[in-house]
Symmetry: C2
Subunit: 501 residues, 2 copies
């Protein structure tokens, strides 16, 4: 394999085993790893590092590291390292059960952030010094440039900032990824220029990552697949939510506010988002474009059907079945898929310029339209903020969606007051559940409340929500956003006791 | 006066009295008025309209209008119209006592919004149809172009969108304002281009407003001063807050993160902000620039002293004394002050590109760094969001500041959980009170909590905050953001009863 994938002589001289590479990582190091939504993360060195950490632990030594990623990774990385309690600090988005448990038990600190801001925050040193970059790629060119893997994430920044670089060259991923990426570097102030991207399919950089070969301390050859992300077939609720959104987009087109081919789409991860894509694939719209974080099965279907003519993202995260198709037809997909650094895929400047239609899931919304995307009952971290804030704040349309009920109908996802705010009323324009869609644009809080209750809440919770609002309107110290702080969280307190809200 | 200030023959033919102009406004009209922080608002037609509304009310008729502004206005506008309960809907920022009372009594709906988004939201029709534009200017050129007044706000958008335009030509303001403005129009998606502004003093548009003369239904000549904004001399707390911020900026320079002349400054309104400017004026920094919403006394002092070499804003809002100086030396000030539409002065694209140092006041912050800028005890509107979100989300540094105590020491401005969230933990990097500065960048929530309590809270409230945090860490359902929802608002509930928190 070293001949076919590693064409640079200097770097070929640094090939070693995963265990040898992991030995170059020290206790206390901050490691910038590649990886976004289970794709493009290093697969073998993290597991070797976890073995080192477990061995140190058996000797009674403390060996912990800081892990900076693009977003969520997979069991070989977050799973392996958190199982051995080897991570002191993790940022930003995660979705691994072992990682989540360590965060919520207090074993690990978790610094969540808007995904577009992680690169600049690291460059400014806000997270401490970056010691190691551990990056998966699919090939090294003769001149030393790197062919990125199935995600870009913060890799350019990690490669720039780290003292030591470890590369995993993964022969298990398709070499035809070469040419799919567009690596553009955003300068720091006061040297920033306008980002010259005015269409989702504009290419503004080069398709390779660059690294100072003198910093590369190890090159590890691997042959591993990405995590496959399973989607369930759209259920009834997802289909209803998708239907409401499609009706609403048609309303926007009919009003003349957006073109017949809509505006570029951003779609969060998960089954509901995937169902919306399936709905769009069956819908009347042609020549669609996506400017999003993650390309999932639903968008790949739309590319195949010809509905989606281009998709810009920072990662490709597919099911096993979709991966087969992706690999078999990569030459074609490369013509319309562009993978960018997450600083660009999520950049507020671009999101606002393009006028994105942004669609994201949530845990709960309150009657005034504030959204909680991250914290279960106020304290417990689910996954993280991700790019939802990058998109929602600046989008043409910011849509948040969820089924109206959770936990077998015990919990209402529409509550009097959210237990944590990730997106304020000013950044939430549209709420959707299976029952309906609330178009909150331009409305004052009390108007929003009535609409959210009647359109989005499950009918069995509506009387209690109406009652809360009515009594708050009578008793609150001000009528802008009537609340009764003494009982605003009674619903959550019942849920904490295991009762129905 | 008509010869000296109104040089276009067609528009000269439309001169009439304020009462005649007000008669052209109908019940139910939405009116886009000029005005930002008490400057550049129309002064006579609103009062004439208030008289019409009062007369209708005496006849038992309902006469109410919607009022869209740039930001806050003055007694002649908000005061006059809200006194007669003539406003059904108001947006966005306000600070008038009569307006605030109508909002909090429920008489008027108030749709608050990020100031940079108001123009596009109106263009998309989210607030309903704009019937009338009522704009103050200081002169009309022979070709019909308009010389803007002391604020630009959303005037270009109001002039574009309204069916009918009423102009107030104010001879009481200095004609030498001509040339100070830079009117650049941001297109709607999918036609947006990069905004070609890379330095605060770049001029990218033309210094005049344009209007279709056929839409102008009235031109009213006025001779009135702007509202003067009084500042108190910096008190001890303000000086301490300013001192902490100056020390911190020096720390940033020493770290090499920002240049010796800092990065462009944004400063909110009010006495504390003004005190920070006074501190900077006495400090070591030279060749400073401002990219902000409102130019107040503090920045004018800095221009006069030569510390501030350019200031970009959307409004000039000065005290009586500063206005005298401003008018006497307008020829000089025009060389380094640029007034832009608020869509540009507050644009996320520019704020992020320039790497603004953003400093804004707040009502309260919680231990995790969430900020409430708007709602007193959760329900009662104070002023509004203003541009704080435009700047804080995208700034290089987002600083929020307040004295640690309010209401003669009864209330703590650092609380367990804010009663309303305008800025989430992810958008709040630095909190400052007279006691100290908490640099929250890169920290996980529990780390933030300890720092906020020890650096920012008043010592008499620290034990109770430490106790809340310690018990929450023992009992919460997750350790990412430990809270006890059952008592998170006990502090506010005591305050609602008139007790000390």
């Amino acid at each position: 394999m070293s001949e076919s994938r590693i064409h640079n002589a200097t770097l070929r001289g640094k090939i070693m085993s995963a265990d040898e590479a992991a030995a170059l990582i020290n206790p206390g190091d901050n490691i910038g790893v590649s990886g976004f939504t289970g794709s493009g993360h290093p697969k073998e060195v993290p597991q070797a590092l976890a073995r080192r950490i477990a061995a140190a632990s058996e000797r009674g030594e403390t060996f912990r590291v800081g892990i900076f990623t693009g977003a969520s990774t997979a069991p070989e990385l977050d799973g392996a390292l958190f199982k051995v309690n080897g991570v002191s600090m993790r940022l930003p988005y995660q979705s691994d059960p072992d990682c989540r448990n360590r965060i919520n038990s207090g074993d690990a600190l978790y610094t969540d952030a808007h995904l577009s801001e992680v690169a600049q925050n690291t460059a400014w040193g806000h997270y401490g010094k970056l010691d190691v970059a551990l990056i998966e790629i699919v090939a090294i060119l003769e001149d030393g440039r790197l062919v990125p893997s199935t995600s870009v994430g913060n890799n350019p920044t990690w490669l720039d900032l780290a003292d030591r670089v470890i590369l995993e060259v993964n022969a298990g991923l398709n070499a035809k990824l070469e040419g799919m990426h567009d690596i553009y570097s955003v300068a720091l102030p006061p040297h920033r220029q306008p980002i010259p991207l005015i269409r989702p399919d504009d290419r503004i950089g080069e398709p390779y990552l660059r690294v100072d070969p003198a910093k590369v301390v190890a090159v590890v050859e691997t042959d591993c697949p990405d995590r496959d992300t399973q989607f369930s077939a759209p259920d009834e609720n997802s289909r209803l939510i998708a239907g409401h959104i499609l009706d609403f987009l048609q309303y926007e087109v009919d009003k003349g506010r957006i073109p017949a081919n809509l505006l570029p789409l951003q779609s969060g991860v998960g089954n509901v988002a995937n169902a919306v894509m399936a709905g769009l694939n069956d819908g009347p719209y042609e020549n669609l474009a996506a400017y999003t974080e993650v390309l999932q099965d639903g968008m790949l279907d739309m590319i195949r059907s010809g509905k989606l003519v281009c998709a810009s993202a920072t990662a490709v995260s597919l099911s096993k079945e979709a991966l087969v198709d992706f690999n078999a037809n990569l030459g074609d997909y490369r013509k319309c898929i562009i993978l960018r650094p997450q600083e660009v895929s999520n950049h507020p400047e671009i999101v606002r310029r393009l006028g994105i239609i942004s669609m994201n899931g949530m845990l709960e919304a309150d009657i005034y339209g504030n959204v909680n995307s991250t914290h279960v009952l106020g304290s417990r971290m689910m996954n993280g903020l991700g790019g939802s804030g990058d998109f929602a704040r600046n989008a043409y349309l910011s849509i948040f969606m969820t089924p109206s009920l959770a936990k077998n109908g015990m919990l209402s996802c529409i509550v009097p007051m959210v237990s944590h705010v990730d997106h304020t009323e000013h950044d939430v324009q549209v709420l959707v559940t299976e029952h309906g869609l609330a178009d909150l644009r331009g409305l004052a809080p009390r108007q929003r409340a009535k609409l959210v209750i009647e359109k989005c809440a499950d009918p069995k919770f509506r009387p209690a929500l109406r009652d809360y609002l009515a009594r708050a309107e009578k008793s609150a110290n001000g009528q802008q956003t009537p609340h009764m702080l003494g009982e605003a969280y009674d619903w959550h307190l019942r849920a904490l006791k295991g009762e129905s809200m």
